[in-house]
């Protein structure tokens, strides 16, 4: 360690600047996805659309977990609120078809943000951080799931609700695969780029400092619980946006969209891509989805075992994610080599 500290020269170790590699990768991915419908059509394209929406969901978790260092184990609650908000509004109420999707989406996103604000207010202002925050949010998913299963007159209970209309706005319908794919891509691209832009500014700076030491940030005059709460609510709203579009895209909601398994999966997507990078959440989701296709085609019951094993490894071996784990190993190898010389 001491050698590296003494050997540093000005500018040798710098933080990435505004249009860093991550932004270039993000723009590259979005451009590549723009031309995808030229090669893929029909049903396959709709599954790509779902991957994009799951990637948006993963991005929402990374916005909070990756940037604040506090793990939410309850993000499926917000995805589910978005999905159920969309479904309940469009099925139980007779709203003008021209605006029903918009009302449904706003209801879901609004509910998620409200729940995040209320729960977040009590736990973040109460000083709950770290593992305790994770456990409280985990309990939140369990409660939400119980409500979804146990209130059949509204949520459809175990079987969920079928017949959510495709997303449409003022007569513009996103019913066919291509338009719904582009809708998902535009929303994902806008959320990804704006998140990266916001986090490259002052808020990102403060959140990184909070990860280092929250009290010290307070001694510089920042209301840290408020900043954490706002980030949490924004993250929840983004998760609900993904959930609402997912429900409209697939035409149904079911309790597994608001369940613990989904909360676990989204953590894995983010971890695989490397938490805190934002664009990594999108890449991680795609990688895990691709692996799931491959492994499930060999043996349908193998996937839960693989994902469970991975989760254990994640906790025990590489808490910062596999990408960071490999990078650290490479760095260590290089350092050892230098020490030998």
């Amino acid at each position: 360690m001491t050698t590296t500290i003494l050997n540093t020269t000005p500018g040798q170790i710098t933080r990435k600047q505004k249009l860093g590699p991550a932004s270039i990768i993000a723009i590259g991915i979005i451009l590549a996805l723009l031309i995808l419908p030229a090669f893929v059509q029909g049903y396959t394209l709709t599954s790509y659309r779902d991957v994009l929406l799951f990637a948006l969901f993963a991005l929402s978790l990374d916005l909070f977990w990756g940037k604040t260092g506090i793990l939410s184990f309850g993000h499926a609650t917000f995805f589910g609120l978005g999905a159920y908000g969309m479904a309940i509004m469009s099925i139980h109420f007779s709203i003008d078809p021209a605006i029903v999707s918009l009302v449904g989406l706003l209801a879901g996103v609004g509910m998620a943000a409200l729940v995040a604000l209320i729960v977040g207010y009590f736990i973040l202002y109460g000083g709950v951080r770290g593992a305790y925050f994770t456990i409280v949010t985990l309990a939140l998913t369990l409660i939400a799931n119980h409500v979804a299963v146990g209130w059949p007159s509204v949520t459809g209970g175990d079987s969920g609700l079928i017949g959510v209309p495709p997303f449409s706005i003022l007569g513009w319908s996103f019913a066919d695969p291509i338009s719904s794919y582009y809708l998902a891509l535009i929303v994902l691209g806008a959320c990804l780029l704006s998140s990266m832009w916001v986090m490259s500014g002052r808020l990102g700076l403060i959140l990184t400092a909070i990860q280092d030491d929250e009290i010290k940030v307070q001694t510089l005059g920042y209301k840290t619980p408020l900043l954490l709460l706002m980030t949490f609510a924004a993250s929840a709203a983004m998760a609900a946006l993904a959930g609402g579009l997912y429900a409209a895209g697939n035409g149904f909601v079911a309790p597994d969209m608001i369940a613990l398994l989904l909360s676990t999966e989204v953590i894995i997507w983010v971890a695989v891509g490397g938490s805190g990078t934002l664009v990594g959440a999108v890449i991680g989701t795609a990688i895990v989805w691709w692996l799931q296709q491959k492994i499930s085609s060999i043996n349908a019951s193998a996937w839960p075992i693989v994902i469970g094993t991975f989760f254990i490894l994640l906790v025990l071996v590489f808490p910062k994610g596999p990408a960071a784990f490999v990078l650290d190993k490479v760095k260590k190898l290089r350092r050892d080599k230098e020490d030998d010389r």
Binding site: T4, I5, L6, T8, P10, G11, Q12, I13, T14, R15, R202, L205, I206, T208, A209, Q211, D212, D213, I215, K216, V217, Q218, T219, L220, G221, Y222, K223, T224
Partner: protein, 232 residues
């Protein structure tokens, strides 16, 4: 500037401060001395609102700040440099300084020129991660960051800890300079008598959570007194 009356505080049922009385004038530098574990750091943390006050009051320029949350105390005009410096390792030097601008009363988002003039290394290493600086450079950065908030009162917790002697002198004379040029008062917790001699007007000695003895810095060569209060 700062008036502390009958201040008590502690962690849970453990009482650390047992009624501290302190009066710090404007443009005055006061050093708190004492053996390890008597409550010197806790005094600074209590003034900052990091440790909750149990009884007593703290006033800054006549404003009662006893019950204010930490971030409002910072904005009221206190810059705090914690023990072990407390810079953000994962941020660059410049980003650390920018973090300090929040509590400026004038809302400026420019890092004050005089800081770079005094510590040119901070400009030179602007983009470098703060975690890679040397101990002395980290201390310069920590003090500079506190100054970015344009405070009326600076709290320094053991600035000499773990840094080389010539930097100790540099920091000592810088504190003096701040007081003269920028109208700042300084409360400094310190074990290094050389630094106190350079920077402070007077000292207070803390024993078991109370300030029991005070004097002018010139009296610090009194061996007997030092033996009584400070030797282990």
């Amino acid at each position: 500037m700062l008036t502390v009356q009958h201040l008590t505080s502690g962690y849970g049922s453990a009482k650390i401060l047992n009624g501290v009385n302190l009066d710090l004038g404007s443009k005055e530098v006061v050093a708190i001395l004492g053996r390890n574990g008597v409550g010197k750091t806790t005094l600074l943390k209590t003034v900052m609102g990091i440790v909750a006050t149990q009884s007593g009051t703290t006033e800054l320029k006549g404003q009662n700040i006893t019950k204010l949350p930490t971030h409002d105390i910072a904005k009221a005009g206190i810059g705090y440099v914690p023990q072990g410096r407390g810079i953000f390792d994962k941020l660059s030097v410049k980003e650390n300084l920018r973090m300090g601008l929040r509590s400026r009363p004038d809302g400026s988002d420019e890092i004050p020129e005089y800081i770079y003039e005094k510590f040119p290394i901070l400009l030179e290493r602007s983009g470098q991660l703060a975690g890679t600086l040397s101990g002395g450079q980290k201390q310069q950065l920590a003090i500079s960051r506190a100054l970015c908030g344009d405070p009326k009162l600076l709290l320094l917790d053991e600035p000499s800890e773990g840094i080389q002697p010539n930097i100790v002198q540099e920091i000592g004379s810088f504190v003096r300079e701040l007081v003269e040029r920028r109208d700042i008062s300084v409360l400094i917790v310190e074990q290094n008598l050389e630094l106190i001699g350079l920077a402070a007007d007077r000292f207070e000695i803390m024993v078991k959570g109370e300030l029991v003895h005070r004097g002018l810095t010139s009296e610090l060569n009194n061996e007997e007194m030092l033996k009584e209060y400070l030797s282990v």
